[in-house]
Every structure is written in C-alpha cells, then in structure tokens.
C-alpha cells in the first residue's frame, strides 16, 4: 500500500523555491526570535552528569537541606564540646543547685541537684551519642552489605544459611536482645555499646542488600559481564554494588536514626553508656532520678535526641527522593 515515491525525494523536489535555512548559517542572528533562542537554550541544557542531577533534586527539598544545616551545627557543637561548653561536665557548683533554665550564668538548660550545668552535659552527651551512632551505622552497613551481597549473589545454600542465621537474631525482640547482650558483654563504655548495637542492626542491612542483589543479579548487564569473562568478585564489586549505593545510603541514614534512639533507650535503662561517659540517654535517666519537678533535666536531652532523629529522617527522605525520582512523590 505504501508507494516508494513517498520518501525524501518528495520533499527535496519541492525545496527549489525556498529561502536559505537559518540553521545552515545563512541568516543573520537578528532574525531569530526570542522564543527560538529560549527553546534552543532549553535543548542545550540537557547534558549533565548523573550526580549533578541527584544534587539538584536533593537541594529542591528545603526541609532536607535545612536538616543538613541543623545537623551539621549540632555535630559541630558535639565535636567542639570541650571548647564550647561553659562549664565542666562534672563540675559541681553547690551555689547553683536545681536551677530552672535561666540566662543567669548561661544555665539555659538549667542545673541539677549538684549544680552541674545541663547545657554542658547535653553538649558532651551529643558528642558521645553522635559518634556512637555513626560508628554503629558504618559497622552495621559494612557487615550487613558484605553478608547480604554474598547471600543475594550466590543464592542457594549460602543464602539459606546466612538468612536462617539472620532470622535467628530477628526472631527475638530487638530491645530484649540488646539488653541481654549488654548485661553479659558488660556495657558502660560507648564503644562496647556501639558494638552491641551494630551486632543487632547489621541484620536489617543484610536483608535489604540481599534483596537488591537478588533482583539485580538477573539483569542483563550482569549476564553481559559474565559473558565477557568477569569473575564473581569483579561483578559484585564493579557492576552490582555501585547500583546499590543509593538505597544503601538511604537505609544507612535510617540506621543512624534508629541507633541513636536505641542507644538512648539502653543508656536510659542503665544498660548502655553509663557515667562517667556522657550520653543523652543516661542524662535523662539521671534527670528522672532527681524527681519530676525539675522537669528541665529530662526535657532538654530528649528534645535534642528528637531533633537529631528528626533531621536524619528528613535527610533520608530527601536522599530517597533525590536518588530515585521515578518513585511517586509520596512525600514523607
């Protein structure tokens, strides 16, 4: 039904009487309209690196960006606590017992029964809690990714074995496991508490990474790599893992938030980080012991924990949207 005559020749025949094309450089610039220029400009902006796009999309989330700033400020406070704090962590001042928050003497978070300044204590608490949480997240992510990758990639018996082991740990309720482990490993030090937390949380990371590897393993680019002779290690490290970085990073932020909350709970119950080490959870515990009338002792450390966790969640949300815009923008 189609006639061989309907091809380019048809159009070229008719071009005899047409004016010279502007695109071929014949026409002066003045003839090109504003709209035309804008369109051209729009077309040319297309080429950009993938990471630039991710950055762009992330910065569109005002809440996530604000959270990054706030979190950085908090982290700086924690980092420079020894320099910034107005008093010593255990500095007792019997003149200033149980003062409610006041600008007098910079006791904006109040003082406890021994006159210790709570702003100072919270600052040091931030310092400890943050680095423990980050350590936990890094450890858990490292271990979890390694195990999840192996399980997901090799499948079969190895997968079965590793996942049954993970199941074992997940069968028991989280906090109970942590408490048990703390009692018997003897916690009290931030480092040990961090280890215990990482010991529980890697299982969640492993689950996720395993799922990612299971689905990516079937994709064509893996087949192609195998066909060109790539070994397993190479395929895992250079082909599949880079594609998982996004979801893993997002999940890692979640782990940081969970780690902070869990560590606070552990310390509060007396099983986690204990004095003389500072921790926000144990500060709340101290505060509780001193009675509920001195409400500021309990309130402020908790508010700080909440603020940190909130910022991390917002950042995680922003990262998730930035890394995978194909997901429906079901914000939050």
């Amino acid at each position: 039904m189609t006639d061989p005559m309907y091809d380019r020749n048809v159009m070229q025949h008719s071009s005899g009487s047409a004016p010279q094309p502007a695109m071929a450089g014949g026409m002066p610039i003045g003839d090109t309209s504003q709209a035309e220029l804008a369109y051209e400009a729009g077309v040319e902006l297309k080429a950009r690196s993938q990471w630039a796009y991710v950055r762009m999309r992330f910065f569109r989330h005002k809440l996530a960006v604000a959270s990054v700033i706030v979190l950085l400020l908090i982290a700086l406070v924690g980092l420079f606590a020894p320099q910034l704090a107005p008093y010593g962590y255990d500095e007792i001042n019997l003149e200033a017992i149980a003062m409610s928050p006041t600008l007098d003497g910079w006791h904006i978070f109040g003082t406890d029964q021994l006159g210790r300044d709570y702003l100072t204590r919270v600052m040091f608490g931030i310092r400890t809690s943050l680095w423990v949480a980050v350590m936990v997240a890094l450890l858990a992510t490292l271990i979890g990714t390694a195990i999840g990758a192996v399980a997901g990639y090799f499948g079969g018996q190895i997968d079965n074995l590793l996942m049954r082991f993970t199941d074992l740990i997940l069968t028991l309720p989280g906090l109970a496991v942590l408490l048990t482990a703390s009692v018997y490993f003897g916690a009290g030090s931030p480092f040990k508490t961090g280890l215990i937390l990482a010991f529980l949380l890697w299982t969640a990371v492993a689950r996720i990474v395993r799922g990612l590897f299971l689905s990516l393993r079937e994709k064509e680019f893996v087949e192609a790599a195998k066909a060109s002779g790539a070994g397993d290690m190479r395929i895992i490290m250079r082909h599949i893992l880079p594609n998982c970085v996004g979801p893993i990073v997002v999940f890692m932020t979640l782990v940081v938030a969970v780690a902070i909350l869990l560590e606070a709970a552990l310390s509060f119950l007396g099983f986690g980080i204990q004095p003389p080490n500072a921790a926000l959870g144990s500060l709340i515990d101290d505060g509780q012991e001193q009675g509920l009338e001195t409400w500021w002792l309990v309130t402020f450390p908790g508010l700080v924990i909440m603020l940190i966790a909130l910022c991390i969640n917002f950042i995680g949300d922003g990262l998730r949207d930035a890394l995978d815009p194909t997901q429906r923008r079901i914000r939050a």
Partner: protein, 343 residues
C-alpha cells in the same frame, strides 16, 4: 456528515507540575459521526490518550486544567455536573485501556467486575440477570468456558483473554461511543490480530462509534474510517483513511509512514524521523514539528507561526493539514510521479 455524536471544539488540557506547565493537549477540534471508526495516531506524549481521558473526567483536575468543549449529543461533557458524567461514563461512552493486567482489580473476580459495570448503569437489575448477561458478554468476545471463567481472577487469564474481558466490560451497556486506548499495544502480535477481530465484532454488535487510539499505522489502515494525526498535543492532519495513505498532507505523517518497514521495497536501513519529540513544557515556537521537519528547511514562518489546520489544495473534501507548506508535499509528489517510478 450526519449529526455528529461527538464534537471536540478547541479542547485544551494543561498540567501544573513543578517543572512548569505541561501543554498536553492544545486546541484540538474534530467530529465523530455515529457508527464510524476514528483512528487517533501519534507518538507517546502526543496527547492522544490525555485528550480522551480528559473529556471523560478521568484526569485529576487539581494539577490538570481543561478548556474547550466536548459535545456528546449536544451536551458538553466538560462542564457537565459530575453525576451526569458518571451516568455517561461506562454506559453511553465506554473506554478500554492499554494494559489489561494492571487495569483489572487483582482481588476481584472477572465476573464481579463485569457485572459491577452492568449494575451501575442498570439500577434495579437482579444479580442473576446481571450474572447471566456477564456470561453472555464473555461468550460474545470469545472467552471459552465463560460460565466457569467468570469466577476466576485476572491473573488466571492470559493477556489476550484479559483484554477480551475488558472489551466485554466496555460493551456491557451498549455504548454509543467506544474509546479504545492502545488496545493491542501490550499484547503479542499473534494475539493482536485476534483482538482486532474482537473489536470488529464488538463494533458490529453495538454499532458504536469507535475511537481507536494507537501508534500502529497498520491497525489504523485495517480498522479506521477516518484518521486524526496528533503531534505535541495538536492535530496536524485529519482525513479519511484512504486519502491519508494515498496522499499524506503533513511531513510528520509522511515521516511516520516512511519509518515503517516496507514489504514491497528493497531497503538497507529503516528511516526513522530524525530528532526527538519535544518537551511539552517548552514547546518549540511556531510549528512544533519544525526542528525535525525536512520540508521546512528552516523557513522563518515555520519557526514563528503555528500552522492552522486547513484544507489544502490537493486535499479532497475534509482532508485538512496543519502545515504551511502542505501544497509542496503534493507538488513534489506530482514531480516524482512525472519523473517515473523510483528505481
């Protein structure tokens, strides 16, 4: 044309998004006669689906904005109260969607979903009668063992069967207009042929006017009476099917036809249309096709003025095209004809 059953007048649909305003459909006007089959052809993003969904109220109107008129037997669907529109949707005007797997509710039986369509437009019909009619419809569209299959779930049907069930659902209430949105795209080629037969049977049974949305020219050639070609949200050509294939009046249409593999010619390479479809947020000024058009050759008017949809010299009764230089297409053809067949 006898009184048209559907008239679109300057239909315009825009969406507010965070990247800007998307001009999905711009100034679309055409008419549909009772019982005729109209094909709407275009690439993805040409606005063909959106235009039909918008007149049925299936486009969410916070981000979307609809202007213009869509007269169904004289009533304007766009400004109609919601209740009245619901009476028309699924009844006098029915729609079939592209992917039957995702378009059917996975947790309800096929029978449940079809009889639901019947009951909504026939208040007071008994459950038994609705069930009987459901089985009849499934038999009509060629689903074997209809009585048993009525109780099955969509995932227990094959792709072709699911589409048949969708068609059954749409003709359940004897529609006057049947809109089929890419009914064969998601199916295997062999099944496609079967579904085409089912569509033909459905049309014969109901004598409905049919709007066939597709990017498949072959389908249009086989089924349609008239054709609307859309590009970047606008109608660029409108004619009866024979005239269009015989003497296409728009470079885009020519490009579409050329990009198909031809059975009766020797070809080394396929000839796609160069370039990319435009972004619907920043449309090119003037004629939206000009950056990819070989007829245009950079002429200023193509870059500055949107070509009106108009009859052109060689166009026979009703054949219109939106191209400033439509005549040159046909002029060139006459040259080529005079020069003899291409070697």
């Amino acid at each position: 044309m006898p009184d048209p059953i559907l008239q679109l007048k300057n239909l315009t649909v825009e969406f507010d998004t965070e990247d800007g305003v998307v001009h999905a459909v711009t100034d679309v006007s055409w008419e549909l006669a009772p019982g005729e089959i109209l094909g709407i052809v275009g690439e993805s993003g040409s606005g063909k689906s959106v235009s039909m969904m918008s007149i049925l109220g299936l486009i969410p109107t916070p981000p979307g904005r609809i202007a213009g008129e869509a007269l169904f037997k004289g009533e304007n669907l766009i400004t109609m109260p919601k209740k009245r529109l619901r009476e028309i949707r699924g009844g006098p005007v029915a729609m079939i969607f592209q992917d039957p797997m995702t378009s059917l509710n996975p947790v309800l039986t096929i029978g449940n979903q079809i009889s639901e369509a019947i009951k909504v437009h026939n208040r007071g019909i008994s459950d038994d009668d609705a069930d009987k009619r459901t089985v009849e419809l499934l038999e009509l569209v060629g689903v074997p063992f209809a009585e048993r299959r009525v109780r099955q779930y969509p995932h227990e049907f094959s792709g072709g069967m699911r589409q048949r069930a969708m068609i059954a659902m749409s003709i359940a209430n004897n529609p006057s207009i049947l809109i089929a949105d890419e009914p064969t795209t998601a199916l295997d080629v062999t099944i496609q042929a079967q579904i085409v037969e089912v569509l033909k049977a459905a049309q014969q049974e109901t004598h409905a006017a049919t709007i066939l949305i597709t990017h498949d020219l072959g389908l249009v050639a086989e089924l349609a009476d008239r054709v609307v070609v859309m590009y970047a949200g606008r109608v660029v050509e409108l004619s009866d099917v024979f005239a269009m294939f015989d003497k296409p009046g728009h470079p885009y249409t020519v490009g579409l036809m050329n990009s198909l593999a031809k059975l009766d010619a020797e070809q080394d390479l396929l000839e796609p249309i160069p370039g990319q479809p435009p972004s619907l947020v920043t449309l090119p000024p003037g004629c939206a096709f000009h950056p990819r058009c070989q007829l245009s050759q950079g002429r200023a008017i193509c870059r500055t003025e949107v070509p009106p949809l108009r009859p052109f010299a060689a166009g026979v009764g009703g054949h219109v095209s939106a191209c400033h230089f439509a005549e040159e297409l046909t002029a060139g053809r006459q040259h080529a004809e005079a020069a003899g067949p291409v070697a």
